[in-house]
């Protein structure tokens, strides 16, 4: 999460205990009325049917729920939705543009950097966050950058191979 959060434009409604917020997700604004205690993961999945972010542990241990908040990979299970107005949220559904796979997605397919696929949206977004701030990571930087996303199928070597290939392609 960024250090300086803007003042929340949230509007509490005492009668329903709901708060009205506007979230900008994948460049689209959504006006929502939600209970303040709900996580970004819950709101994405339950209110917006954006089910690409996965509930794997709901305690910030596994990374399956990773989304980008202002370009940084965050665990959406640890972020309250009411923290997010004013920020840019990107989910896996927002990575594909006009039916075209993002190069990271395409490379994951080519390199078979997945098995069951449950952690894959999180892996793809974690790698995007890494490559956006460090276009040419070393192997060690790749492993450290991806260490917050567990892959129980153990596709790690192929994820790393995909990351290396992407780093080579970057200018």
């Amino acid at each position: 999460m960024p250090d300086s959060m803007p003042a929340l434009p949230a509007t509490p409604d005492e009668a329903t205990r709901q708060t009205r917020i506007r979230l900008t997700i994948n460049d689209t604004p959504h006006d929502l009325s939600i209970a303040p205690r709900r996580t970004l993961l819950e709101v994405l999945r339950e209110d917006l049917s954006l089910t690409g972010a996965k509930p794997g542990c709901e305690m910030g241990n596994c990374g399956a729920c990773t989304v980008l908040l202002d370009g940084e990979a965050v665990y959406s299970c640890l972020v309250l939705a009411i923290e997010c107005p004013g920020h840019t949220i990107t989910t896996i559904e927002g990575l594909t543009r006009d039916g075209q796979l993002h190069p990271i997605q395409d490379t994951f397919v080519q390199y078979d950097a997945l098995q069951c696929g449950f952690c894959t949206p999180g892996q793809v977004l974690a790698l995007k966050s890494l490559l956006d701030r460090n276009p040419h990571p070393t192997d060690d930087e790749i492993d450290r950058g991806m260490a917050g996303n567990i892959c129980r199928c153990g596709a790690y070597p192929k994820i790393r191979a995909a990351a290396r290939a992407l780093a080579r392609q970057q200018p």
């Binding site: 999945r45 954006l50 089910t51 690409g52 972010a53 996965k54 509930p55 794997g56 542990c57 709901e58 305690m59 241990n61 596994c62 399956a64 989910t91 896996i92 559904e93 990575l95 594909t96 796979l101 997605q105 395409d106 994951f108 397919v109 080519q110 078979d112 997945l114 098995q115 069951c116 696929g117 449950f118 952690c119 894959t120 949206p121 793809v124 192997d139 790749i142 492993d143 450290r144 991806m146 260490a147 917050g148 996303n149 567990i150 892959c151 129980r152 199928c153 153990g154 596709a155 790690y156 070597p157 192929k158 994820i159 790393r160």
Partner: protein, 734 residues
């Protein structure tokens, strides 16, 4: 089988389901939950052993949004299980482990279901719990299933030759005691699903699993419905590793949908999954090995005890596999092994990748290396002299199934280890700048059966429809085979396309509906490529022959493939033909031990496997690498702790899984293709084998680096440090 020139066999084609997985479009069970569905919340026992004195659901029933609270009295036939039906869906009288279920709350929302579950009032009378497998066998131990009169679920002896005489004549006799712990599957997708009753009065369950038709069998039995009235469908499956072989919630979804006639949904939290589903068995193994001066291993005696937990699951089969492999992959003339599966009030144990083989061979492979050291012989040379060859007799006194590749696999491993790790060369100081970092190399072998064993009526069924005019235009393959991430659907499709001589795109697959696709058997025991693949292959050939012969534009054929029969083990001697196929593996591992912290880093792994024939080389490598990730966890990291029947590690914050940083920087998968006589294009299985030699290879490497032997899995820093300080204490004292 003939292996003609092929265009698709071995090709590293990308998996078609990858597109949905990288875009987030793939729908896993929890993604199927829709507004308007009723939500289910279980009430767990949370105590290891107790009698239910009273169960009051009235407060929960009156809570906001609650549609029903189901208990044991609502279950038509309240017992299920893969082999023995000994586990209640909802407990009525006694709870036997903390993840036992006593009530199922059905409410309009998840929050309401959770709130109401807290209002279910259960009065328990705690009973003495038995939470140690050896203690459970003692006279007077508390009984987990009182009606059985014993906690012993299975005792299987294997007797071959005359061990007493062999030990008397052996030049070297060594004893060992080993223990292995539970392992949690930790598939990243926690159990979830939906169920409803359709317009044809069928109860439909959409979830994840490993075997559509077995789930259906158990659910139909519980609801006392004909199997055809139960439809099991699999969504995208978020990993399984054996952990979805037992029913977890599938039957409870069905029960609630059937009782309430409304769509229902359930999604377990991680801690519910950790506490409630079965685990890999902990084993306690005591053994004695004897060899001649010339390096012939002549005798093995072992006692192999598995803690099966509160319900039978597949403990009997896992224990038989461990008993069979207690002497590893070596032809030893005199064997006396006793395997025991025991009920306790711990979490039930069942299938997990390797299915008893990793535990047994942790002990066996360490003993072989220790024997070599005692004989002053290279550990590879001792293995070479004793390892299984074509025609070798198993401990069960029958020749091994044809296609024994243990020796070529070992030789290739040694060759690679010499070239890549400089195995066998004298080592200079390990890390000159850091004397507390010590490096070592270990080698171990492994064997694991492919497919079901011990007389099980093993089968796989596939149906192929063909359409075309002058040319074959397209094929539809129907086979109820679970793709748990291993890539089975692509493998089966490649086999079909190859066999029919058409492009992959001309073949479509129907795989995930028990009402449409025939029974492939489970996605387990490394069997789907061999069994499902062979059924698809044979059905494709049969359909093709009909299509060629007929004037019609359509043809179809269904084939049920049976591999060579196996037999049950003789209850007195263990004699019999246990398996129809084995996978052979050998690994060389280089580790770095930090002697100050006890931490072990795996630097390099060479993992050699005979896969018969790689259908998709990229996926074979993926299986080897992925299995090694779980092997790293099993050997070094994953410490599932249970005290007095309570799981102390129900979160990923306390049960640590390997991340990218725990992976060996260099993994070299080496694939040999020595055709299996029954597999399609010669293929056999590979999914479990890398887990078998890894932990003992790491133990040997730690010994090579430091001189200490670890005998408990996982080899955590605490245990490594304790072993080092014990050795140092001894050498100081001595």
């Amino acid at each position: 089988m003939s292996t003609p020139k092929t265009h698709l066999i071995g090709a590293s084609l990308p998996r078609p389901d990858a597109l949905g997985k990288v875009t987030g479009a793939a729908r896993y069970p929890a993604d199927l939950i829709r507004p308007g569905m009723l939500h289910l919340q279980l009430v767990f026992a949370q105590r290891p052993h107790a009698r239910i004195v009273a169960l009051d659901t009235s407060a929960a029933e009156g809570a906001p949004g609650v549609a029903a609270v189901l208990t044991a009295k609502d279950v038509p036939y309240n017992a299920h299980g893969l082999i023995d039906a000994d586990q209640p869906a909802l407990c009525g009288d006694v709870v036997r482990f903390e993840g036992d279920k006593v009530a199922l709350v059905v409410a309009e929302s998840k929050e309401q279901a959770e709130a109401a579950a807290k209002l279910v009032a259960v009065t328990y009378e705690d009973l003495p719990a038995v939470t140690d497998a050896r203690a459970a066998l003692a006279a007077g131990a508390p009984l987990v299933h009182a009606e059985l009169g014993t906690n012993l679920l299975l005792h299987i002896p294997i007797r071959k030759g005359d061990t007493a005489r062999a030990f008397a004549e052996a030049a070297v006799v060594l004893e060992g005691a080993f223990s292995t712990s539970w392992q949690e599957h930790a598939f990243l997708q926690p159990e979830a699903g939906i169920a409803y009753v359709d317009e044809q009065e069928r109860v439909v369950i959409e979830t994840a699993g490993q075997w559509l038709h077995e789930d259906r069998r158990q659910i139909a039995a519980m609801l006392q419905l004909p199997e055809e009235q139960v439809i099991v469908r699999y969504a995208a499956i978020g990993g399984a590793f054996g952990g979805r072989e037992d029913l977890s919630m599938q039957h409870l979804l069905a029960l609630a949908a059937w009782k309430l006639r409304r769509p229902v949904a359930m999604q377990w939290k991680r801690e519910e999954s950790m506490i409630a589903h079965h685990k890999r068995h902990p084993f306690d193994i005591r053994c004695r090995w004897g060899a001649t001066r010339e390096g012939r291993i002549t005798a093995v005696e072992a006692e192999v005890i598995a803690d099966g937990g509160a319900y039978a699951s597949t403990s009997v089969e896992v224990t038989k596999v461990a008993t069979l492999f207690a002497s590893g992959c070596y032809e030893i003339p005199n064997i006396s092994v006793d395997g025991y599966a025991v009920y306790t009030n711990n979490v039930p144990c069942g299938a997990f990748r390797g299915f008893g083989a990793p535990q047994a061979q942790f002990a066996a492979e360490i003993m072989v290396t220790r024997l070599a050291h005692a004989l002053g012989m290279d550990p590879v040379e001792l293995r070479r002299r004793n390892i299984y060859r074509e025609g070798s007799l198993e401990p069960t006194q029958q020749p091994l199934p044809e296609g024994v590749s243990a020796l070529p696999v070992l030789e290739r491993c040694v060759e690679e280890a010499r070239a890549r790790l400089r195995y066998g060369e004298p080592r200079e100081s390990d890390v000159p700048s850091a004397p507390h970092l010590r490096r070592g190399i270990g080698i171990a072998c492994g064997i694991k059966n492919v497919g079901y064993s011990f007389g099980y009526q093993e089968q796989s069924t596939a149906k192929v429809h063909l359409y075309g005019k002058a040319e074959l235009e397209r094929a539809v393959v129907l086979i109820g085979a679970a793709d748990v991430g291993q890539g089975a659907h692509l493998i089966l499709r490649q086999i079909a396309a190859e066999t029919l001589g058409i492009a992959l795109e001309q073949v479509s697959m129907v795989t995930d509906d028990s009402g449409e696709a025939p029974n492939a058997g489970s996605a387990s025991a490394s069997r789907m490529t061999l069994m499902g693949g062979r059924a698809v292959h044979d059905a494709a050939l049969a359909a093709r022959a009909k299509w060629s012969a007929a004037e019609e534009y359509e043809a179809e054929a269904e084939v049920q493939f049976h591999p060579p029969a196996t037999t049950p083990l003789d209850p007195m001697s263990g004699a019999g033909r246990p398996n129809y196929c084995y996978g052979y593996a050998a690994q060389a591992v280089e580790v770095e031990v930090n002697t100050l912290t006890g931490q072990v880093r795996v630097l390099r792994v060479i993992s050699v496997h005979d896969v018969g024939r790689a259908i998709n080389m990229q996926q074979v490598e993926g299986q080897i690498e992925g299995c090694l990730a779980q092997a790293v966890g099993y050997a070094l990291l994953e410490d599932f702790q249970v005290r007095d029947g309570h799981v102390l590690t129900p979160y990923f914050s306390t049960y640590l899984l390997p991340t990218a940083l725990d992976m060996p920087p260099e993994i070299v998968p080496v694939v040999l293709e020595l055709a299996d006589p029954n597999g399609p294009y010669g293929a056999r299985g590979v999914a479990e084998m890398p887990l078998v030699p890894f932990a003992p290879a790491v133990a040997a490497a730690i010994h090579d680096a430091t001189g200490v032997w670890l005998s408990q899995q996982p080899m955590t820093p605490e245990r490594v440090l304790a072993a080092l300080s014990a050795m140092n204490g001894q050498s100081t004292a001595g």
